[in-house]
Symmetry: C2
Subunit: 361 residues, 2 copies
């Protein structure tokens, strides 16, 4: 823990609390150096050091000859909200949450974490609006949001959620996908991954590794990340014998997989994420099919499973840390300057080549 016996840290935390609880008048000036010296019985260097720390936190500004004054940031609560859904098709939100939590700690923010992990869509929709109201009541400065997906009325729930935050004047940054379908664009900041390009890069790699009959394993869902990877893959497979063949199945349905392989005889299968790829590889080994000798397998995510299976999975690496850092920084910027134009940031997911597509690691 921090050594709290340091005078300037003690005084700093006392004043921080008083600022956060709104004990200082916005219009009047903040405590002067000499006031701090008298009140806490410290020397001038210490008082100056305390005010410098407050300055670094963006809470006060100093004007020579005039005094020290609170900034707009001083009237914030120092709380930031995060809304994610545990059972997502992209396995990036656990590491993102972790990084956001670290960033908050380091910068003196309190993180309110809401993980909507209810099983049924209806429950999830209800819970998310309840959580939003909670956050607003608590008074947060801003919120990072993973939009709801795969509900029949996801878009309207998302719109209601954003409307509530808008009404409360709370800025927000969307994670991974917009709340409106693809060509459309909402007016909220967005940090995502270029899943389309990830699909293309994967297809390019599989072709280079010798594959010509490439297909994609997905399920009936249409989560943006899943389908964008599919679109990118398809674009790059133009002109090949199996352009745009999807294997719509659970990867552990042995019979379906066997029939599919017999029918199309693919030489590479890209799975919509690493988890599915790992399960598929298990099924394939039951069927006596060797990876990568008989069939190339690739996944997407590089979060949990890619290096734990044999052979290790070729995949695209989701830059979770950078997503979290970018989103956090966009949010802080928007808290300070709410009038910035809406921004969308896309990060690339670099290809990580491992044994499952032929090369020895």
């Amino acid at each position: 823990m921090d050594n709290k016996s340091l005078k300037y840290k003690k005084v700093f935390s006392v004043l921080l609390d008083e600022i956060r609880s709104g004990r200082f008048d916005a219009s009047r000036s903040f405590l002067s150096e000499s006031q701090i010296m008298r009140r806490f019985g410290v020397g001038r260097q210490t008082a100056i050091r305390v005010i410098q720390e407050l300055q670094k936190s963006g809470l006060v500004v100093r004007r020579q000859g005039s005094g020290t004054f609170l900034t707009r940031a001083a009237h914030h609560t120092g709380r930031i909200g995060l809304i994610v859904h545990g059972s997502s098709y992209c396995e990036i939100f656990a590491p993102i949450s972790r990084t956001v939590s670290h960033l908050c700690q380091r910068q003196g923010y309190t993180l309110l974490l809401g993980d909507i992990a209810f099983p049924t869509p209806k429950e999830r929709a209800a819970r998310v609006l309840q959580l939003v109201q909670d956050y607003i009541d608590q008074g947060i400065d801003g919120v990072l949001i993973q939009p709801l997906e795969l509900l029949q009325d996801a878009e309207s729930v998302n719109r209601n959620m954003m409307a509530l935050f808008d009404k409360a004047n709370i800025p927000s940054v969307l994670l991974d996908s917009d709340i409106v379908p693809s060509p459309d664009r909402s007016s909220y900041d967005l940090v995502g991954i270029n899943h389309f390009d990830a699909g293309r890069i994967m297809a390019k790699h599989l072709r280079k590794a010798g594959a010509r009959r490439i297909c994609y394993l997905m399920q009936k869902n249409r989560a943006p990340c899943v389908s964008n990877r599919w679109l990118g893959l398809k674009t790059e497979c133009e002109g090949l014998p199996l352009p745009g063949i999807q294997l719509l199945s659970q990867p552990d349905e042995v019979k379906t997989i066997r029939n599919f392989l017999k029918k199309y005889n693919p030489d590479a299968i890209a799975c919509y994420n690493d988890r599915q790829a790992a399960i598929l590889m298990h099924t394939l080994s039951e069927l006596g099919i060797k990876v990568p000798d008989d069939l190339l397998i690739a996944g997407f995510d590089d979060v949990n499973y890619a290096t734990l299976v044999t052979p290790q999975l070729t995949t695209t690496h989701q830059p979770c840390k950078e997503i979290a850092e970018t989103a956090f920084s966009l949010l802080l910027q928007r808290i300070i300057k709410p009038d910035l134009p809406p921004r969308e940031v896309f990060l690339s997911a670099p290809l990580v080549i491992r044994a499952s597509t032929g090369r020895k690691p």
Copy 2:
């Protein structure tokens, strides 16, 4: 100017120069507090203040008990390059250059500005490669680049340019468009404007203002910003009587304009930028056509001409300052961490409604 009679500023600038010129060994430790005190004859507070300034500039780090050490940033030159083309179809690069210049000054960087304004494409291509070599010889830390457009071999020139910077290990950020055609994506950072969405927003506004026969004035060029606006506009005009009619003409060709108006009888014309819109309005007034009563006119950019014409132009506002700030910040980040995944940032251009589309300002 800064008051250079301040001791800590004098010492700071001396040490800054020495660091920039590489006078300190990378492996050995930097000057200690007491060394600075002795050498410059200053007190400890002043020495500390100097080191703190160097710390704020990211040039040194201090470790208690051990000493002060130079960072990687200390071996940079403090020079940043900017490459733009004066005669561009998007009129955003003059204000962008200005803002970048301000940012450099404020943060202690020297800006090398290269404006490639040669008339013929061939000259431009030659000059740009010469400029790149110049920058590399001078030793810059990073570069902001507006890619070449509208040359038959623009892509190959751009690739050569980037290859030179890559070889010299100089990070770069692209402005406004990628060096590869649209669905493709290079591995360089990119800051752009969502021109597609700007086109859509403009079309939505024109429809709301009552227009049903909407067309778009452009020339034969295919600059990304011009054609993306067109694509967005077209998307939003689906189902209208004139879906996707372009007026391919110079806006001062009175005869062509008259014939076009007679043939298609449009009730709104969006021009690919404000300058063309201003010229078109002049032509229209010669033809006795009143804006906005007979015909709605809109432009794009909101940089130079939009408020100077009568009636004032409805347009979309290019957030030039924010583009420059974003690009600059991305570049600094990449200079520090070259291994970050490639990022693309798109800013929205908000609609600015003025009299030329019907409403009184």
